[in-house]
């Protein structure tokens, strides 16, 4: 769960979040503020790491390896090389193998996911469209990855080699995915999840977990929403539980129809 203060971090921890993302602004506010968005102030990150016992993540700009060095130095538990911040390098992502702290990176399809894993990402999250409260892009990206994996399973090795070239991913990783029938790292869903049903939708589509960014603390009752989403993720196949926890949550975050966004406003196209 994305949090911007120690109080919010404690709410997330008490709700059962497995980690928090320490930010200065949630993606919905980053979107509103515009301009260049950068790594959060270390004071903010330290304040949050000291408030909770669960792992704390923080974001760096795509390709900004010095922001990553700073976060590693601060002792964050995982770095998110994120399209939500303004990219610092339009050609290269961070060389994640050079770090001891693990990284999570966004992806819209299998090729993008495998390029990030090849650079050393320990976890993938589908990008979705952050800060919109609209799950449609998260669904698109999760379906894309899952369907590509299913296709790979049916191919012979020659076809897999051809496919690896087409999606610009290393052949060894493509082969590994085909054999496992899944990515070699966990794949969470992110970008637009705003309700318990959204979270369960992503889990049923094959996510190993979900990131909820603006969806918690931009809703009317963050504490209830956080608990309801945690509960749903653990019982994602049980509509009875989802129905129960969805009652009386108050307003979810205000949403944005992604079709009204100009190409410049779409965060998911950052990174490649």
């Amino acid at each position: 769960m994305d949090v911007v203060s120690a109080e919010q971090a404690v709410i997330a921890e008490n709700a059962g979040a497995v980690a928090v993302m320490a930010l200065e602004r949630v993606p919905a506010d980053i979107r509103k503020a515009g301009g260049v968005s950068r790594m959060a102030d270390p004071t903010k990150i330290v304040e949050i790491t000291e408030a909770v016992s669960i792992p704390v993540m923080a974001k760096v700009r795509i390709g900004h390896f010095v922001e990553a060095q700073v976060l590693q130095e601060l002792g964050v538990d995982m770095i998110d090389e994120s399209e939500v911040l303004t990219p610092a390098d339009e050609e290269f992502h961070v060389d994640k193998k050079a770090f001891s702290v693990p990284f999570v990176c966004g992806a819209r399809n299998l090729g993008e996911a495998l390029r990030r894993i090849n650079e050393g990402a320990a976890m993938i999250r589908t990008k979705g469209e952050a800060g919109t409260g609209n799950v449609v892009e998260a669904v698109r990206h999760m379906r894309a990855i899952q369907s590509e994996i299913r296709m790979l399973k049916g191919m012979d090795d020659q076809e897999r080699a051809g496919y690896a070239r087409k999606i610009e991913a290393p052949f060894e990783l493509v082969l590994d995915v085909a054999n496992r029938g899944r990515l070699p790292v966990v794949n969470f869903s992110a970008g637009g999840i705003a309700t318990p049903s959204d979270a369960a939708l992503m889990m049923q589509l094959g996510a190993d977990g979900v990131f909820v960014g603006s969806g918690i603390f931009k809703s009317e009752n963050p504490e209830k929403m956080a608990k309801a989403i945690v509960e749903t993720v653990h019982h994602f196949n049980d509509p009875k539980v989802i129905a129960e926890v969805s009652r009386g949550l108050g307003e979810a975050m205000p949403g944005i129809d992604v079709h009204t966004l100009t190409p410049d406003e779409r965060l998911q196209t950052r990174g490649w």
Binding site: P55, G75, V230
Partner: protein
């Protein structure tokens, strides 16, 4: 070996535990997931996976599993966060109420944060050669009660212990394919 193992599937590295026990039990065994207490007594043993102890405990309480887990009579195989759950006391955190299945005091994140996570070959009682252990934001045991066997320790504290049918580890024996601890656990269950 025929035998039934249940893996607590609320949060954490559930699938790694399933794979490890499937491999250790062989084709006749049965490994299932459980999310509530309704059928835990049909398992010969259960595994409490690594993950976030705060999160898992909250979900255990929510699912009404606190008492049933305390009263469970089979063996419990607990790693990392699972070790914290089994303890009787968590050092420096009086608000966290563990299950108290094993009389011991646990210190969470005893080695530090994620960047201090490490792998090491450690000597273990009952194993002829060292065990390659993966420590991830790992806890340690700082005090054990009467009758507890310490299988391995590091300067920070005990990292592998056994009491009766139960085994608890700071590290993750379910990762890396070395199933010697799983076999020791199953052996004592008569499997």
């Amino acid at each position: 070996m025929a035998g039934k193992i249940g893996v607590l599937a609320l949060q954490g590295d559930v699938s790694e535990h399933v794979t490890a026990f499937e491999d250790a039990l062989g084709p006749d065994g049965e490994v299932s997931l459980f999310r509530d207490a309704s059928d835990i007594n049909r398992f010969d043993g259960i595994a409490l996976p690594g993950g976030e102890s705060t999160t898992i405990m909250r979900l255990i309480q929510k699912a009404g599993m606190f008492r049933p887990l305390q009263q469970y009579e089979g063996g419990i195989f607990a790693t990392c966060a699972g070790m914290v759950l089994l303890a009787s006391e968590v050092q420096d955190d009086s608000l966290f109420e563990p299950l108290g299945v094993m009389d011991m005091t646990v210190k969470r994140n005893a080695f530090g944060r994620q960047r201090e996570s490490f792998e090491a070959d450690i000597e273990c009682a009952g194993l002829e050669t060292p065990f390659h252990a993966v420590f991830i934001r790992a806890p340690v045991v700082t005090r054990v009660g009467y009758g507890t066997e310490v299988l391995a320790s590091l300067p920070q504290g005990y990292v592998a212990i056994r009491h009766g049918l139960h085994m608890a580890f700071s590290f993750h024996p379910e990762l890396g394919g070395d199933l010697r601890f799983h076999r020791l656990f199953l052996e004592r269950l008569g499997l």
